[in-house]
């Protein structure tokens, strides 16, 4: 069964899930063509 620590871990995981890492967090800053994510139509090429 989950213990107190596990419950705390679950709560902290939940909180950090609200601000997940962003792809640009792992990339060098690009001044000229920075990422500007936006919802593009599903029928566009996604990769």
């Amino acid at each position: 069964p989950l213990n107190k620590d596990n419950m705390y871990q679950q709560a902290m995981l939940e909180a950090s899930w609200r601000h997940m890492p962003h792809p640009s967090d792992s990339e060098r800053l690009r001044h000229y063509l920075p990422r500007n994510p936006c919802p593009t139509p599903a029928y566009y090429h996604q990769t």
């Binding site: 989950l2 679950q10 995981l13 950090s16 890492p21 060098r28």
Partner: protein
């Protein structure tokens, strides 16, 4: 912290100076020109005078960078239209990346070029300081904690310290060790609010490359294996209890993605550490475990398990022992190991068998009764000893050579004497060795089939079937050794598999067996 008066202001001034230098076009290649003038300023401000002051300087810089990030994130929460997330991050990185560059240059230029010790000591010091600030921030802010500034510092520092420069290459293994220690200290069970960033950090492509590919003699493998075990240990309780909240599902799916990359690119790594991973993955995480057990060396061609009349014991690889780089006997108490060795050698003390169940039991709490790690260790140890013993007699593992031995006494005793919970764990420990063609896969496949054939109660046969079946009905991948064992069980008339009541006990069960049998045929 008793910082000397004025140190905070000095540090803030210096950090601001450095950020401007870092971003100015005149700071030259990799900011080196700007750096040499900046170091003069640090000297003038007395920052480099003592180790203690340098430590305080780095801590204060880290805290300043983190506070700035929280402030900018706060602003963006207040006016999201003005500050879109990309812009907020760019503003945070503007300072964070400058701070990382300063650390990198101080590490590179501390001590003379040949003196790697001062460089690595400074790197470990700085990483330790960032870890300390992170842990305190995590403990103080609790659910308001934000992983981003620390994630950025670690990943960009790792990136910069892995630049193709001689001075960095010469300390690369110590650098990897420093980061592995850092990530181990920040493992999810210790800093759960940092878990998502943590998985990003250990999944970072150049971290994987350095740890699993570029470091000679696979010296990064045990370190990377430890980080994966840290991850499985965090997921374990939630998976075992099927407490899969949305965030946990995201983390679990992220784990599957990472393992798929490792399965595809570094299967030998999963092969060598499968035992350590399966030791901490809960028994009900069938697919996660199958994924690890399905790994096989890239230079190996697996014969199609569905080949009619496949002669497994004729395969060339079947007599090679797989590499197992986990010290799997470490969990065995010394005198248990002594009695075990004695029994294996002389079948004495006879009490060893009757005491065995008690030695494996931890409590009477259902679901928690047994020492799973000890069962896993006992099974693999006895199996490897049995294989050695068979070879020493000039034989090779087969349905006939594995019988009538002290090793098989132990396995048969366990299959008869344990209750259903213990037997399930025992049979799982055997099934965890059914992998790609090697002597362990072959020996344990024969053992499982032999236990089925020699069972004195149908419950044993039912549980052997259950352990195999639950591993077959999950989505792919399925380990080769599992498939060939189940195919043999359902095809070989000597096992009379289809006569058993548990095969026909319910329409869904019959359908399940027939569909699995069909896909196996």
């Amino acid at each position: 912290y008793d910082d000397p008066p004025g140190l905070n202001e000095k540090t803030e001034y210096l950090l601001r100076e450095w950020v401007n230098i870092y971003h100015s076009p005149t700071s030259g290649r990799d900011s080196t020109r700007g750096f040499s003038t900046f170091v003069q300023q640090m000297h003038q401000q007395g920052i480099l005078r003592t180790d203690d002051l340098i430590t305080r300087f780095f801590r204060l810089c880290t805290e300043l960078c983190v506070d700035l990030t929280y402030r900018l994130l706060q602003e963006s929460n207040i006016s999201p239209s003005l500050l879109n997330p990309t812009l907020v991050r760019a503003k945070c990185f503007h300072t964070l990346d400058a701070f990382v560059r300063l650390i990198t240059l101080l590490v590179k230029h501390s001590g003379d070029a040949a003196n790697s010790v001062t460089k690595i000591n400074l790197l470990n010091k700085v990483l330790g300081i960032v870890v300390g600030v992170l842990q305190q921030d995590h403990d103080q802010r609790q659910t308001e904690f934000h992983q981003m500034p620390y994630h950025r510092i670690f990943i960009m520092l790792f990136y910069e310290l892995n630049a193709p420069e001689h001075v960095l290459e010469s300390i690369n293994f110590q650098t990897l060790t420093a980061f592995t220690n850092t990530y181990h200290i920040l493992r999810p069970t210790k800093v759960p609010g940092f878990s998502f960033a943590w998985l990003e950090l250990i999944s970072y492509r150049s971290f994987i490359s350095r740890m699993l590919l570029q470091t000679p003699q696979q010296k990064g493998w045990p370190m990377y294996a430890q980080l994966l075990i840290d991850l499985f240990k965090f997921l374990g309780p939630f998976l075992r209890n099927v407490e899969l909240t949305k965030p946990m599902q995201v983390l679990y799916r992220g784990t599957l993605r990472l393992l798929l990359v490792l399965l595809h690119d570094f299967p030998e790594f999963l092969c060598d550490y499968h035992y350590g991973f399966c030791d901490v993955i809960p028994a009900n995480c069938i697919q996660l475990r199958n994924l690890i057990l399905s790994a096989f060396p890239r230079n190996m061609r697996l014969p199609d398990p569905f080949t009619p009349n496949l002669k497994v014991d004729m395969l060339q690889e079947i007599n090679s022992a797989p590499r197992i780089l986990t010290n799997f006997v470490a969990v065995m108490p010394a005198n248990f190991r002594k009695d075990l060795d004695s029994y294996l050698k002389t079948r004495a003390p006879v009490t060893f068998l009757s005491d065995l169940r008690g030695n494996l039991q931890l409590s009477n709490e259902p679901g928690m009764k047994y020492n799973v790690a000890l069962i896993n260790s006992l099974v693999l140890y006895v199996g490897t000893q049995a294989i050695q013993y068979i070879y020493s007699k000039g034989g090779t593992p087969s349905m006939s050579t594995i019988t009538h031995s002290s090793h098989m006494d132990i396995f048969q005793n366990l299959s008869v004497d344990l209750d259903t919970e213990g037997r399930y764990l025992f049979l799982n420990a055997i099934a965890n060795q059914l992998r790609y063609p090697n002597s362990h896969t072959h020996y344990f496949s024969c053992t499982l089939l032999y236990l089925f054939a020699e069972a004195n109660q149908e419950a044993i046969q039912e549980q052997i079937t259950r352990v195999l079946l639950e591993r077959l009905i999950v989505n792919r991948p399925h380990p080769w050794g599992l498939l060939i064992t189940f195919i043999e069980l359902i095809k070989n008339p000597n096992f009379k598999f289809w006569n058993h009541e548990f095969v026909h006990c319910a329409p869904e069960i019959s359908k399940l067996f027939e569909s699995v049998a069909r896909s196996c045929m």
